[in-house]
């Protein structure tokens, strides 16, 4: 319901919200610190108190409970919400179950390293080296999988890093819990429900009921530990209030103590209680699951009843609500991931990508945009922080043009956020996965771009990240890759010299691709089995539909919907490579296949190979130009990937869902990949997400049409399309053109798009003079980052991304120099 006179809320700026202004300033000044609190407590628990006879869910619950009972209550600033992800103001928690031990080589240097240092005290480094890391040498998820499955080939392929990444070695996380039942019943209410189910199950004598009893006990242990943490927060707030020097602080802390005594144990009564209850539960979830893409979801929908009630009762005004929303946004930014220096090339500069989803339609298909949607958009516009990752759903028949225009305006003003999602196509994509229409309409974005019905869908959406250049090279070189030398990796298919038609090459490519997908799926299944044993999620399960009813943990398939996500690196480069082979070798017969391969081997240098490279780069069909060959190959590849993944059933009984987002992997993997048939030289970066290759798509409308033509049921994991627009001085006129372009793209079938409103020169200047752009936020591929934090390769990729002039609809050529 809309009651705002001005949906832009222009009267509310940071001058009028001084608390947010100050918290934001502090947030930008903070430097990340590594927090060992969780690693310490869970290691101590497992070393001294763990009972291996306990069921996996109970062991996990007790381990997390041990930590949450001891987690220090911190109040690092004047944020109105209680609770912190770590013991540091901006903390990187360590999860030794995954890759924390990769920090070991730099325990004594991480604080001082050049790129993105993370502070670690000498005392904590000593504790990690002597007490914590040695315990985990053979116990991390990957090492347990290696031992249990006897180091299969899929692990070797994964560890070579150039074929696929199996993210479960590092986390599952990536989910959208639902907080509505918790707000309504309180954690005590959920525990009572679990206790009733436990009694019922314990009266039955079957293996299933015995496991259900274990799960319900684990769930209760987990929720009780969140309540214990909230109680510790309340006590600490009360003590701080007692010794606070000024009356305002005394009052604030006393109010926080009262809130924490009430929620999340009991039902929330107010907007503030609801927000703080969600935040404390989010902290609890991060005690169990690594802080990666754990997304609060559709907060404008979940929180609206509390907001409306408070406003109607005169307890809350717009400024007060915006202050609380801003406090929540900044709480979501209080943590980063631990990134060892060695991983900076792949993941440098990434936040933790907790996604907030706004707008769209409700379960009945009606316009769901409300006052809170606009308050949250305005807070996003004012704060301009990397996290949370804010996303706007838009249904072009149900939502108003005013909403669409306002989202467009926020993107132009922030230069980067939110991302736009097309309700019509995305809802249909989820229906195609067997979700009911009502559930699909309640989708939210996970992390970068992935879709999930809120609190019903456990999608492990980053399970596989497949490098598409691997099967391309394997198809060209008979199952081998230049980077891995003479080792036979995939099936021994005919060499390029023996291929007589494009149809035959396409079949060979699919043979290699399917083989690699099978390896990636096997790796994911192996890791999934280890997660079931080592890392169940009884705490997270409490915030999903399904586990409570079935008595099964999420990791055992307890959610209403189950799937595994598989995303792809190098999509546009591989489509263009297919186009080049079809066109230059077989249709036009300009070059023999062996000539093209020789040119690849020489990286398009010398002996006429430069001319071949130029031809391939500039004279062959390109994805993003509406060329029929390019469109056909793009559609064939998307269709084949969809069909292949959907043929697999994962360890939780769900399907695999293909997607096209790349984080920063298109830079890291492009940097080490050889020359490609599309004329791309060795080491040049791949295009991001589903975006056409930089410089290959000179016309905006053709670019958008080609991408949109791929949208729909065959991309259930969604995609990241990155578009860069030249900023214009007349924001009003630009907003109008911007919004109309979105409308057209969505009506053509586009699923998602995100923007950088910045030009080549400005980004070049930011690279050369980072001190002038301390807060410059950019969209990478699905998430936002501060430009200064990105590694060299990623900065280059962002600079050279095609820049479109929205007025002319044409691309501006990149003529800068590095």
């Amino acid at each position: 319901m809309m009651t705002l006179a001005d949906i832009g809320l222009k009267a509310f700026d940071l001058e009028r919200l001084p608390r947010l202004r100050e918290l934001r300033r502090q947030s930008f000044e903070r430097r990340p610190e590594i927090c060992i609190e969780r690693a310490r407590h869970i290691t101590n628990y497992l070393r001294y108190r763990d009972d291996p006879e306990d069921a996996p869910e109970v062991r996990q619950a007790k381990k997390v409970s041990h930590f949450l009972h001891r987690k220090a209550p911190r109040f690092p600033d004047r944020n109105l919400l209680a609770g912190t992800t770590t013991s540091k103001p901006l903390g990187a928690p360590l999860f030794p179950e995954f890759f924390a031990l990769s920090l070991w080589p730099e325990l004594e240097t991480v604080s001082e390293r050049k790129q993105n240092p993370q502070k670690l005290s000498a005392q904590d480094a000593r504790e990690l080296n002597r007490d914590i890391f040695p315990y985990w040498m053979d116990k991390s998820v990957l090492e347990v999988a290696r031992k249990r499955f006897n180091e299969p080939q899929c692990i070797k392929l994964f560890e070579s890093l150039v074929f696929f990444i199996a993210s479960k070695a590092g986390c599952i996380s990536h989910a959208v819990p639902t907080y509505a039942p918790m707000l309504e019943k309180g954690l005590l209410g959920l525990m009572e429900e679990a206790a009733r189910h436990e009694v019922r199950a314990s009266n039955e004598a079957s293996e299933t009921s015995r496991r259900q009893v274990d799960f319900y006990q684990a769930l209760q242990i987990s929720l009780k530990s969140i309540i214990a943490y909230a109680a510790n927060l309340a006590e600490e707030a009360a003590q701080l209030s007692a010794i606070a020097e000024d009356a305002a602080s005394r009052q604030e802390l006393a109010e926080m103590a009262a809130v924490c005594r009430r929620v999340p144990a009991n039902p929330a009564r107010t907007f503030r209680e609801a927000l703080n209850a969600i935040w404390i539960c989010q902290v609890g979830i991060h005690a169990e699951n690594i802080n990666m893409a754990m997304s609060p979801g559709r907060l404008d929908q979940v929180l609206y009843p509390y907001y409306r009630r408070d406003v109607d009762a005169g307890r809350l005004d717009i400024a007060g609500a915006m202050e609380l929303i801003g406090c929540f946004w900044l709480k979501l930014s209080d943590n980063v991931i631990m990134v060892p220096e060695a991983s900076e090339e792949m993941f440098g500069g990434a936040g933790t990508v907790p996604a907030i989803t706004l707008g769209g339609v409700d379960a009945q298909g009606n316009d769901a945009v409300n006052d809170l949607t606009y308050l949250m958009l305005r807070v996003t516009e004012l704060l301009k922080t990397r996290d949370p990752n804010v996303n706007a759903r838009y249904h072009y028949t149900a939502n108003s043009p005013a909403y669409r225009d306002r989202v467009s305006e926020v993107i132009i003003n922030t230069k980067a956020v939110p991302a736009f999602f097309n309700d019509v196509v995305n809802i249909d994509a989820l229906v195609g996965q067997g979700e009911t229409e009502a559930h699909a309409r309640d989708y939210a974005v996970i992390g970068c771009v992935e879709l999930a019905s809120s609190g019903r869908d456990y999608p492990a959406s980053s399970s596989v990240m497949l490098n598409l250049s691997a099967p391309m090279e394997m198809a060209i070189y008979g199952g081998k890759r230049p980077i891995t030398g003479d080792t036979q990796i995939g099936p021994a298919t005919p060499p390029a010299s023996a291929v007589t038609s494009f149809g035959q090459f396409w079949e060979i490519f699919k043979t290699q691709l399917d083989w690699l997908i099978a390896q990636a799926v096997e790796m994911n299944e192996n890791l999934g089995a280890v997660h079931q044993e080592m890392m169940p999620s009884p705490l997270l399960s409490a915030f999903f539909e399904g586990p409570m009813e079935t008595g099964r943990d999420l990791i055992q398939g307890g959610a209403r919907y189950n799937s595994s996500g598989a995303t792809h690196i190098g999509f546009a480069d591989m489509v263009d490579s297919l186009n080049a082979i079809e066109s230059a070798v077989f249709s036009e017969k300009r070059y023999r296949f062996e000539e093209l391969v020789a040119a690849l081997d020489h990286n398009f240098s010398g002996d006429g190979y430069e001319a071949i490279g130029r031809y391939l780069k500039h004279r062959t069909p390109k994805f993003g130009t509406e060329h029929p060959i390019a469109r056909k190959n793009a559609q064939n590849l998307v269709r084949h990937l969809y069909t292949t993944y959907q043929s697999y059933t994962n360890y939780r009984g769900g399907t695999y869902r293909p997607a096209y987002w790349t984080m920063t992997n298109h830079a890291g993997l492009g940097g080490i990949s050889g020359a490609m048939p599309n004329g791309r030289r060795s080491g040049e970066l791949f295009a991001s997400g589903i975006t056409p290759v930089s410089g290959a798509a000179p016309e905006l409308h053709a670019c958008l049409n080609d991408v949109a033509a791929l949208g729909g049921r065959q991309v259930p994991g969604c995609w990241a399309l990155n578009i860069k627009y030249l900023p214009e001085s007349d924001v009003g006129a630009m907003t109008e053109r911007f919004a109309h372009t979105i409308e057209a793209y969505f009506r053509q079938g586009g699923q998602q798009v995100q923007f950088n409103i910045m030009d080549y020169q400005m980004l070049l200047d930011a690279k050369q003079n980072p001190e002038r752009y301390p807060e410059l936020m950019v969209r990478v591929s699905g998430y936002s980052a501060y430009f200064k934090d990105l590694n060299e390769m990623m900065q280059r990729e962002l600079i050279t991304r095609t820049q479109y002039n929205l007025t002319t609809g044409q691309a501006d050529p990149f003529e800068g120099e590095f």
Partner: protein, 146 residues
Amino acid sequence: MPNFISLDGLKTTWSRFQRSIETEAAEEFLELLLNAMRFMFTVSHRYRENIKDFQGRYQFKSKDGGLTMAATFNKGRMTVKEKVIDNPDVTIIFRDGKTLFNFLFSPRQDILGAMLRQDIQTEGNLNYIYRFGFLAKRLQLMMTPG
């Protein structure tokens, strides 16, 4: 033991070691590194504490098969051998000395980059590599004045 080691023998080894890293000589670099570590474990209680309860078996091999070395850790002692050992916890196969140096020892240890470029391949438990990386870095810091 002070943080900065001034023992003559070790300093000589260290000087040779630093010279070796200017070249592509894998054999000399690896042998000197392992021997410098072993020597430091002998003379420095603080350094030895890092392997007090550590049991680990490392196999190093050059891709061309020309070099095979092994380092084993057991009860606070390190042993270095030029041979293939049974049941290593991890095997590190490297293209040349420079890549091995970058992987283990450069000021900016390029573990992921070396693996991405296939300069280094590993078989076995990666956590043993991370621990070895710490020991190598610690040695480097102890040998560096200031």
